[in-house]
């Protein structure tokens, strides 16, 4: 029998429910702020103003969002194929190696607009190859992808530590990082876009990788919903048996999806490495891969949702930093709590309010919930 609440209009499904979840997350976070003895309303104002109030804040917010768009897309592509890629963190981290090789080789000879495409390819290839091994093990040996990708995060971290304190470190340096790149591997900033709107920017790391991220979001949409490969990935993701019936090779589809996911994760490294720090340093990914899981879930695995969710998390990062600065009682850890609450309500408890809202919609305007369609008319 059909369920009594079937379907919400798209705007409620993709707009209203995330907003309600977000609102509840902020209310609960507000209580935490009260507990440490600060005014939650002032905290909220500082947070939002820090993220969007000034040009510099906006630029920082979008810089963080760029990173999360890549990792969110990476998780989403794998998820559409029924694979939970927890290895985005490691794939992005190890991709830094590919970027380092390109940048250190060419930064003195080539201009940025030649180095950048080379680095994109290098990052994507290294990220994809790092995802290939768990994918192969899953497809051929049945090793669970969640376990193997987690382990590959650790392996990636160990390799990078070894390389950054050894072979890749300049001899004279004490810092565990490569030498700083020259101008040929520094990406141009995008701050002028925000200045077009009249805002002033001191210095912010927003760079052309943001545009690459938006382009990738569009390409992912194209891939998933408009190509044969995307169709096959979704078929396998929903029902491996149906994929087998349809003549889709399990091995091929798992490996392809994971390599695309790994390539997207790898491209994330371009943003901090070439756009901001101009070197490859230890732990430059700093958890962005895991935030990507939350971004993908909150964005309902749709590129548009992922871009919006990435901007929200960018806001939390940037506004949170301002908040920690303005309100000494609120430490950096408090910001992590707030972020955790958003993940909890928007990701893990995504369906908590859904039944109530559906019931509400059903009683307000029955047609909007598509009940007629559900029942059909005999057969």
């Amino acid at each position: 029998m059909s369920t009594p609440y079937a379907k919400l209009p798209a705007w409620a499904d993709y707009g209203l429910i995330p907003l309600i979840n977000l609102f509840v997350a902020f209310v609960v976070a507000g209580f935490v702020v009260v507990l440490v003895g600060e005014n939650p309303f002032r905290a909220a104002i500082i947070l939002v103003e820090g993220a969007f109030g000034k040009g510099t804040g906006i630029a920082f917010t979008l810089f963080y969002a760029t990173t999360f768009i890549f990792t969110g897309l990476s998780v989403a592509v794998a998820a559409h194929c029924g694979l939970f890629n927890i290895g985005t963190e490691g794939q992005a981290y190890i991709a830094g190696l590919g970027i380092a090789v390109v940048c250190l080789s060419f930064d003195s000879t080539l201009p940025w607009w030649l180095t950048f495409p080379l680095a994109i390819v290098a990052a994507a290839v290294v990220g994809a190859l790092w995802a290939l091994i768990p994918a192969y093990l899953q497809a051929k040996r049945g090793s669970h992808i969640v376990i193997t990708t987690i382990m590959f995060n650790f392996i990636a971290a160990s390799i990078m530590v070894y390389l950054l304190v050894g072979p890749l470190k300049p001899a004279a340096s004490q810092a565990p990082q490569t030498r700083n790149f020259l101008a040929g591997a520094e990406l141009p900033k995008l701050n002028w876009i925000i200045e077009l709107f009249g805002a002033k920017i001191r210095s912010a790391p927003l760079n052309v990788t943001f545009l690459l991220a938006l382009a990738m979001a569009f390409l992912v949409w194209l891939l998933i919903w408009r190509t044969k490969l995307g169709y096959e990935m979704r078929t396998y993701g929903h029902s491996p048996k149906a994929a087998r019936y349809a003549g889709i090779s399990e091995t091929r589809i798992i490996i392809t999806a994971m390599m695309i996911s790994g390539a997207l994760a790898g491209m994330m490294a371009l943003n901090p490495v070439m756009g901001d720090q101009h070197n490859v340093a230890i732990d430059f990914v700093s958890g962005a891969g895991f935030v990507g899981i939350a971004v993908a879930l909150m964005g309902r695995l749709h590129p548009v949702g992922i871009v919006l969710a990435a901007i929200l998390f960018g806001m939390l990062y940037q506004g949170g930093a301002e908040l920690a600065f303005e309100m000494p009682a609120i430490s950096r850890d408090m910001i992590v709590i707030i972020q955790g609450l958003v993940i909890l309500f928007a990701g893990a408890l995504e369906h908590m309010f859904r039944p109530y809202i559906q019931a509400l919609f059903a009683s307000l305007s029955p047609r909007s919930v598509g009940m007629e369609a559900v029942k059909g008319k005999g057969a």
Binding site: R226, A242, Y245, G247, A362, M371, K375, G378
Partner: protein, 510 residues
């Protein structure tokens, strides 16, 4: 007449704009078996869910044993002596029978006492009603027929006087169904009341005392079973006359299209499921494979369609061999003109989360008609889907609707439309009308006959003996992985039934 066990008076229930139940009045007499029939979506399950406390009626009154009752949760229903056996069992697979029976009805914080109590009570129930089950067996190791018995025991253990069964025979073999009916009769003799929800009219005729027919949310008629006929009930259900047996001319069999020789297939545990089977199918005939579910029919279909690899033997399609060893690619077989309507449309034949038009290309998504380079040709796909919707009368006629939101019959039509419209030379169909309502069965059978008359070779596997007999030009009976006999369509049900049970009278007579 005996006193009413349950009275429903003026029950109304709406989900949004859909009035699932309108003004339902129903009286169920104590100590009888009362059938409720209707097509999918007629409101049977909604009505029973209201009685069992899953839903609240918008208006109306429920009386149990003459007393007005307020049933807000299943616990209220249980307290009033109402038990329910769901279509999909609510059992914990890795618990024992005993543990499942006491689940939620434990009398003590420590399990030991409850289990000891339950064991003696269970023994009494088993004796009284002929419901033998090993109380220490693990559920997942039991066949479905026994799992269902556990569900019945669960309800009786909770003191049920009124037992509701929702489509109880959907998962059962004919023999298991017969056993279930014997149990139900025994329950009736002991004074229990049984409510049987089904859309299988034969079962209604075989076992019920009274039958009520629902159509589009209303109760259209209540009849004494012995004073009605299958034809009358079918007409009441659908609202028009229905042909229960398709009419067809003589088969004009042509060349051999599909030749299966000495085929042997094992399942994933290594048990031989198909054992040295050989048969041919010719152009222009329908070959039916009858048999109790689980005798290797599923594995046979999967091996022929390239989903499962075979151990040995050969299958020739149009005189050329199918690669059986390397797990042949189902896509390649489609290109060679072999279409397959799988038994399990929910997990294999369809992706329920997809839009209807996306499912209408499943397996044929490599066809250049649906592609523009690496991209899907969305317009072509949707137009193609719309054509099929019109041709096969798929409702609702919306190719953008999620497939899960179609009724079982319409889902099956989506699969059939996809496979038949590819104009295959060979069509193999598993359980063509499982979970499909009467109106759609007639349509599907006519389509299959039309395929035959166009000179296609059709293989039908079904556990519904009626269906096999009405469709097939030749009937093969499978038992325990082997073909134990071949009969013409004129074979009697009894004769086929014996073959299905592994007894061959002709051989015995020789």
């Amino acid at each position: 007449m005996a006193q009413a066990a349950i009275e429903l008076i003026g029950i109304n229930k709406s989900f949004g704009a859909v009035r699932a139940n309108r003004d339902i009045n129903l009286e169920i007499a104590r100590g009888t078996i009362h059938g409720i029939v209707g097509e999918n979506g007629a409101g049977k399950s909604t009505l029973m869910s209201i009685l069992y406390g899953f839903y609240q009626a918008d208006s109306g009154e429920i009386r149990v044993g003459g007393q007005q009752a307020s049933i807000k949760t299943p616990n209220d229903a249980i307290a009033l002596g109402i038990g329910m056996v769901h279509q999909h069992f609510m059992l914990v697979d890795n618990f024992t029978v005993l543990e499942n029976v006491i689940l939620g009805a434990e009398s003590d914080a420590l399990l030991k006492k409850s289990i000891a109590k339950a064991r003696s009570e269970l023994e009494r129930l088993e004796r009284e009603y002929g419901l033998e089950v090993d109380p220490d067996a693990i559920i997942e190791e039991l066949p479905v027929g026994l799992q269902q018995r556990v569900e019945i025991l669960k309800a009786l253990y909770r003191g049920a006087e009124i037992l509701i069964l929702d489509e109880p025979t959907g998962v059962l073999t004919p023999a298991e169904a017969d056993h279930l009916f014997r149990i139900l009769k025994q329950l009736k003799d002991q004074g229990k009341t049984v409510v049987l929800i089904t859309h299988k009219l034969r079962e209604i005729m075989a076992i019920t005392d009274t039958v009520s027919v629902m159509r589009q949310g209303t109760m259209v008629a209540t009849r004494e079973t012995r004073k009605t006929t299958v034809e009358e009930l079918a007409e009441l259900m659908v609202g028009r006359r229905v042909l229960l047996r398709v009419e067809k001319g003589e088969a004009e069999a042509g060349n051999v299209k599909l030749a299966v020789k000495n085929l042997t297939v094992k399942d994933t545990r290594g048990v031989t499921m198909v054992d040295d089977i050989s048969f041919d199918i010719r152009a222009g005939e329908i070959v039916g494979i009858a048999g109790v579910a689980g005798n290797g029919q599923s594995e046979l279909l999967e091996a022929i369609s390239g989903i499962r690899r075979a151990v040995s033997g050969s299958v020739m399609l149009d005189g050329k061999p199918i690669d059986l060893t390397g797990a042949a690619d189902p896509g390649e077989l489609r290109d060679r003109g072999l279409a397959h309507v799988p038994e399990d449309r929910h997990h294999v034949g369809l992706v329920l989360a997809f839009e209807e038009n996306e499912n209408s290309i499943l397996g044929y998504h490599d066809d250049p008609r649906y592609l523009k380079g690496p991209f899907l040709n969305i317009d072509a796909i949707r137009n193609d889907a719309k054509d099929k919707i019109a041709k096969y009368d798929i409702r609702p006629a919306d190719c953008r609707l999620k497939t899960a939101n179609f009724s079982g019959g319409n889902q099956q039509k989506i699969v059939l439309a996809r496979e038949m419209e590819q104009d295959p030379g060979v069509l193999i169909v598993g359980q063509p009308t499982r979970g499909v309502d009467v109106g759609a069965i007639e349509f599907i059978h006519k389509r299959l006959i039309a395929m035959r008359d166009q000179g296609k070779a059709v293989l039908v596997v079904s556990v519904e003996l009626d269906e096999i007999r009405s469709l097939s030009d030749r009937i093969l009976v499978m038992f325990s992985g082997r073909i134990v006999g071949e009969r013409g369509p004129e074979a009697t049900e009894g004769e086929l039934g014996l073959l299905m049970a592994g007894v061959d009278h002709q051989e015995a007579a020789l």
